[in-house]
Symmetry: D3
Subunit: 194 residues, 6 copies
């Protein structure tokens, strides 16, 4: 079995603070397994709590103009730029599930500029690329272009913050060397039979 992290991981979940145990059991209930990044972060309870609070605030915000699938597109595209296997594979699974498009994650991870997405989605990814990879600053031009496509200022904040937050996530994984759980690789690739 491959190593979960270069840093310490809990021998047993029952040794962890109760709220952290609870969040692990909740995700296990939903997904059928505990994603490795939960175990990797558990050695630092305060950071664990801040990380997932931040994550949920950004990834679960309701917006009629920025869907859950689009949020995952940003994660997959940016994590691929940072060459972070964990995030590409884990969030690639979520993107396949949310979008119901079994090839979309691979298309975005390998080259988002050739992926079959809308112009609006392409601009969203171009903006996050500019901000997170090229260290650009939000200019009046970018604001105008994004708003013309129908994004609100709150959407713009979300897009930029998601891309930036996963820059943090990608680097924590690069430091810990945490691999994705095997389950993620196949999720959403095969249509579920009824």
């Amino acid at each position: 079995m491959s190593q979960l992290s270069r840093f310490s991981v809990p021998d047993s979940i029952s040794d962890l603070p109760e709220d952290i145990q609870k969040s692990m059991l909740a995700v296990q209930e939903k997904a059928g397994f505990i994603p490795n990044v939960f175990l990797m972060l558990a050695h630092r309870p305060a950071e664990f709590r801040a990380f997932f609070a931040y994550h949920d605030a950004l990834m679960e915000r309701e917006s009629p103009t920025l869907s859950l699938a689009e949020r995952e597109m940003i994660v997959v595209a940016m994590s691929a730029q940072h060459e972070c296997l964990y995030c590409v594979v884990a969030h690639g699974a979520l993107l396949r599930i949310y979008s119901k498009q079994p090839h979309l994650s691979d298309q975005i991870a390998i080259n988002y500029r050739t992926a079959p997405i809308t112009d609006k989605q392409r601009m969203m990814l171009d903006f996050t690329y500019y901000l997170a990879i090229e260290c650009g600053v939000l200019t009046d031009e970018w604001c105008a272009k994004l708003q013309e496509q129908g994004f609100s200022m709150d959407d713009i904040w979300d897009m930029g913050a998601i891309a930036s937050f996963f820059g943090l996530s990608n680097r924590l994984v690069s430091m810990a060397g945490t691999p994705p759980n095997d389950e993620f690789y196949l999720l959403g690739r095969i249509p579920r039979s009824k």
Copy 2:
């Protein structure tokens, strides 16, 4: 007066959730003013809380082998790489205060490779550069080199996590266009008279 943020800022602190008000008053009590980044993040209370919880967990951890000044060195060096004026100026002030060296922030911001720091500190900054700017992964070689210099695995985590967290911080500022408070520019440059 220059604009605080491209996104909404509170008209009055008294409109904000109580815990956020409290943290603003606490920093004002200590510094004499409210750093602009507090006001910039206030439009998203959940993210505000997660951001500062994460920040404090990383920047205030006690370690005999990674001082508060060294943590600020990482912030200044990485923020300069990302060309983030706010973080260079605000954390430059903290670095001058903690290190009691009035020129150190400028030396590290402009070129940390020529700054008058120890070999251990130089390796610390090289590692964070490699991880956060070059998107490197923590290898056995890096682990060994850093441990030989006297860093613990907890220090290594802190160094990497601080560099990565400020990558997030730098990009939020680049998005909001938030300038540093004027007070930061001069803090720690002039020896206090008794």
Copy 3:
């Protein structure tokens, strides 16, 4: 249905020169479908013939020290660097089949430096990266290092020539905009039941 190429594609295989028809039928017999790149190249019969003759000479050469799976590793790693979806997906399928490791293609495409491969294979990919992406020249040092790992001069030629040939292939696809056949995405991901 998505467009096969920006350039002309045959309306019917029966209009093509006999030898080209034959090679298409042969691959269809074996794979169950005609890979799109065959149809994309058919508008230039002389180039079609040269391309596949070159391809087969490099990819099918027998060597006890450079397996078919390792040849495909090079293709996947280099095509990912060139952000060529077609080649990553099509040759990713072949790599899964040859290696019998269903996750290996994703691991190499996203970041070959963190993939679970041998040191010898890692050096093979480092060399092709150096030659094909960084435009390096083969030096005495590289020759010595590669030979110490057990590669023959013929293997070195193959590695470099495969990486270089797929640089050509990647760019032809980028020009034509040819997508991978849907079948490739899932090939080799699921263990065949007996």
Copy 4:
């Protein structure tokens, strides 16, 4: 005498397959010498045949809107980007001969953006730079711009394929370390006396 290749070269042409001998004698008849790249590739007859078949298909195609000299411009400009001495010197000689401009090869090799060429030729080189060096994909905008300049879709294919093919050629030479024949350096530099 400098070494022809890191890989094996034929002791005598007469040991080679007949068709390869023939092609060497043909070029010797025409040029007065055998270009070193023929000898370098001879250790792999199948690749030799595919390479020159591909080369001739691309470099000798007749088009009223893409001349032989313009094809050589692409080779010189791209080979200079890849820092391949052999291809710059050998194809620089051909460009001087075809264009009858003794300084054009140096002008394009050192900086094609300042060379005294037409706007159409400049766009041709910008396109091949974008495709072959920056790994860009052919977009609607590029198609439109190139067609407005008078290039056909077949010309666009040729330009992209030539640039990509010489990317392969450049890297084979970098691997073998093959120097240009001395004769190439001066060809076309001095007006022939009648």
Copy 5:
């Protein structure tokens, strides 16, 4: 005390050629101290003379459309790109003094694209960035854009020449390892009391 240079520095000013002594005493009279770069260059009298003659010709030319402060902006912005502490700190002091803006040097050194300067000044810095950092050539488009902003051809020459000259200066300092005099760090940061 930190070392002034890796190369020889004069034990005493009185050993130097008379004209060089004179220029040192003149700057000392004006600034209150001898900037270290004068001592660093003194081991090569002919180069010393040429360097300062060139410097003065560029930095002291009178132009109604390119002020002394704007000339220093170019120096600070370009020296920051080259990570040259000496030039950023020394010319940052001059910029603060000429502009009477105590924060401007830090704002330009860290990210000139977010500094509170005019559009004309922004274009000036973009042009020098393009020419000196990206090795661009002056095109008709650049000429037109700069002249529309009110710059004369003489201003354009000055801007480009200043940026290029300090590229030389930055590298000489990088070679000698010369630190800025302590006095520079604080100059112009604090309003002078009458």
Copy 6:
């Protein structure tokens, strides 16, 4: 006839200051023509004087361990990196003449790493590349390596200063758009008959 400069050039040499006239006539006497860069710089007499004083101090210094040909190698290699046609062609001519090797300039301009030079010369060019192109600082390691090869500290200064000075020269030419004189292209390529 191609344009000599985007900036003003003298209608007649006789309008220029006497010392500048004299230096032009001196070079014409020696070379048979006035190199275009003399005419290009003449619109700024003070800069003209400083430029050539600096140039001569660096390029004509006598050293048993850094020959005139080696100085020109640096110029050709660095000017090629900056894609400056004028300097590559003009100093390429000088290099051919000084070295008596008619192919050396092309070999160094296209890829100095594959040129047939000594290890000492290769290190000299690696150092100037590191300093002038990569903006590196002179470290103890570099000092030691260069001195082991037999270079004095004065040679090191010369190498670095030559590379830096021609960075200035290259950019002035890029700004003025000055082409090399036709005569330079062929100089030193053909053995002089007795």
